[in-house]
């Protein structure tokens, strides 16, 4: 059975300036042990999906479609059931460089709190477990006594990973866990996540804007643009041979190491991501697309098959004139 299934998920934020559709019909499925990367520019709706899975979006946000955790509809749960499912079925590794840890509480207590909330054990054994968790992510158990500001960015990120593991969830959603860390620390955190994923047979939904990070960590890759998945497939193939022009632009933004031609000439993408509250007609990407066809300004293509286990949402996919 799938650990996580998203069926035609739509999320619309209500703001003073009107409604903003952030996610517009996303289908995604993760089985036990699956590692799926969700990539895209900021504002494409990828972090909204993380919030939607545990029903953490602001009050008044409209959510339609289905979110199934272990086959159970998250949006049909009663409040008590929802609280019990949070952190035990799925936990989120938040971005540690920002303010995900409470600055006035010791980090150990913040982990302990989650353990005590979801299991019947004494504070003493919970504290021992906190020490074990910290050691598992490569921190001395004594760091539990520290306050967040006494730790480095990398250490805080490790604490957040330990925290996510506290209740042994089946699914880990990593929401830009390496953003704002320096490259060496990024690599350490990634390696740690990969090890933990393998060791515990976790399903991992890895959200980032950094495509190159995903190809190392994830088997499958979904590229999002303007609230939709525009390409999905095995990550090495998507990275090496993208079918959607947007994925192509994302992949080209990272120079291939050892290839001077690409290093000297990294390809960016002109223009800004579209404003979700005022999307262009037709394919939302056509204004920035290098290969836009005349029909793109009126025709919005759904995902279509693009080879074995792959799909992409582009008029050129399946056609011969790419």
């Amino acid at each position: 059975m799938s650990v996580l299934e998203l069926h035609d998920l739509h999320v619309t934020y209500r703001t003073d300036g009107g409604s903003v559709p952030a996610v517009r019909g996303v289908n995604l499925s993760l089985d036990t042990g699956d590692t799926v990367g969700l990539a895209g520019e900021s504002g494409c709706g990828k972090s909204t999906i993380a919030g939607a899975v545990l029903r953490l979006l602001p009050k008044g946000t409209e959510v339609s479609g289905k979110v199934l955790l272990d086959g159970e509809d998250v949006y049909a749960m009663k409040p008590g059931r929802l609280r019990a499912v949070r952190w035990t079925s799925a936990a989120i590794v938040f971005q540690g460089a920002l303010h995900s840890l409470n600055p006035v509480r010791r980090v150990g207590l913040q982990i302990e709190e989650a353990i005590l909330l979801h299991s019947q054990q004494s504070a003493r054994s919970a504290r021992i477990r906190v020490g074990e968790l910290l050691e598992k992510v490569g921190l001395p158990a004594g760091q539990a006594e520290r306050y967040p500001h006494q730790l480095s960015g990398g250490q805080r990120q490790r604490v957040l990973i330990a925290l996510a593991l506290a209740c042994e969830p089946k699914l880990l959603i990593a929401d830009e866990p390496t953003t704002a860390l320096d490259v060496m620390v990024q690599a350490q955190v990634l390696r740690l996540l990969e090890e933990l994923q393998r060791e515990h047979g976790l399903s991992l939904l890895f959200i980032t804007h950094d495509l190159s990070v995903l190809t190392h960590t994830c088997e499958r890759l979904a590229v999002m643009y303007a609230g939709r998945i525009v390409e999905e497939g095995p990550s090495t193939q998507v990275f090496a041979d993208p079918q959607h022009p947007y994925s192509r632009a994302l992949a080209a933004a990272f120079p291939t190491i050892g290839d001077p031609a690409s290093r000297m000439n990294p390809q960016g993408l002109a223009g800004d991501p579209p404003d979700p509250s005022a999307l262009p007609a037709g394919c939302p990407f056509h204004l920035r697309c290098a290969v836009a066809a005349p029909e793109c300004s009126s025709l919005d293509v759904a995902l279509r098959p693009a080879g074995a286990g792959r799909s992409a949402a582009c008029v050129h996919v399946g056609a011969t004139d790419v």
Binding site: G51, L54, L56, R83, A84, V85, R86, W87, T88, A91, I92, F94, Q95, L98, H99, S100, L101, N102, P103, V104, R105, E113, A114, L117, H118, Y147, H149, Q150, L163
Partner: protein, 321 residues
């Protein structure tokens, strides 16, 4: 590190106090050159009487000599004599101290319930509760306490006769123990209520905005994701952070307890420091006024110090931990 933090704050407080002592001394010397003559204006004093009075009030010799004499007295806990009745300033001020601590202290504690309302209002921002609390707070916060005093006095004291119109206790009363306490409470009810209403808005508004500032923090999202109840997210994660500015405000306001109620004390003839200040200013009774100013400054400096030290305790990012 911690000892060093405390030491720094302590040295800061003491040097401020020293500055205040000097400033306070010279202020009153600059305000009026011929203090004795203006004080005993209209009475025929011989030069020898003037000289004696000047010695008595430490007004003879050069300014520097006066100052060193003043500091010397101060270190022995001597603030000089009142020009009104020649009693020591410390005695005059001491008598008025307790009624003020009782009145303003009580109303400050009452007003601090506003923190609770403010937190709830901020947590449920834009709800009916929030609108009600904010409107009430803004209304009372902007209301002059002297005006409210007179309204209450007219309504509940002279009008309905529910409360006495002023004073600390019934005149000529020789009640003791519980009866005396009840009598004083009866007298204090109206002024304390006025002050509590005057102060509560500030606590409510500060607590509300502090809570709203924390609402957007990522750690609240994380706390919710962990499976905590909404009320636990508020009490365990939002409130401890929203408390930081509120603690500063509260500690600072305790510094104003002594000097805070001149108008209300005068209207209700409450024999406290506020009334004493007013009387000393109209006298004018410079030594008493000087003593009061020093006391007010010292209590504010002390409250500031307490605020700093407490802040260091409740916010681990401050205080070198």
């Amino acid at each position: 590190m911690r000892a060093r933090f405390i030491l720094t704050k302590l040295v800061g407080a003491l040097s401020t106090l020293a500055f205040v002592v000097a400033f306070n001394f010279f202020l009153f010397r600059v305000v009026n050159e011929n203090t004795v003559e203006s004080m005993f204006r209209g009475r025929n004093l011989s030069p020898s009487q003037i000289a004696r009075l000047e010695r008595q009030f430490n007004l003879d010799g050069s300014k520097w000599e006066q100052f060193t004499a003043y500091v010397g007295q101060l270190l022995h806990g001597n603030l000089g004599l009142s020009m009104k009745d020649f009693r020591p300033v410390t005695t005059v001020v001491g008598e008025a101290l307790w009624p003020t601590v009782l009145l303003v202290g009580t109303s400050t504690l009452l007003a601090m319930t506003g923190i609770f309302f403010g937190f709830r209002a901020g947590w449920r921002r834009r709800s009916g509760y929030d609108v009600g609390v904010t409107t009430f707070s803004m209304f009372t916060y902007s209301m002059p306490d002297a005006w409210l005093s007179m309204v209450f006095l007219g309504l509940f004291a002279s009008g309905l006769g529910l409360f006495p119109t002023g004073g600390l206790e019934d005149s000529g009363s020789n009640a003791a123990g519980l009866a005396k306490l009840l009598d004083q409470a009866h007298h204090m009810a109206l002024p304390a209520l006025v002050l509590a209403i005057a102060y509560i808005g500030e606590y409510t508004i500060v607590a509300r905005s502090a809570m709203i500032d924390t609402l957007r923090e990522d750690y609240l999202q994380l706390a919710r994701a962990k499976g905590l109840r909404d009320s636990e997210v508020r009490s365990k994660h939002a409130q401890p952070n929203a408390m930081l500015p509120v603690v500063s405000l509260s500690a600072l306001n305790f510094g104003f307890v002594l000097s805070g109620a001149i108008a209300v004390e005068t209207i209700f003839s409450w024999p406290g420091l506020g009334q004493l200040t007013r009387n000393a200013a109209t006298g004018p009774d410079f030594p008493v006024l000087q003593g009061l100013f020093l006391l007010f400054s010292a209590s504010l400096i002390f409250a500031n110090l307490i605020a700093d030290l407490m802040y260091g305790r409740i916010d681990p990012r401050v205080g070198g931990r």
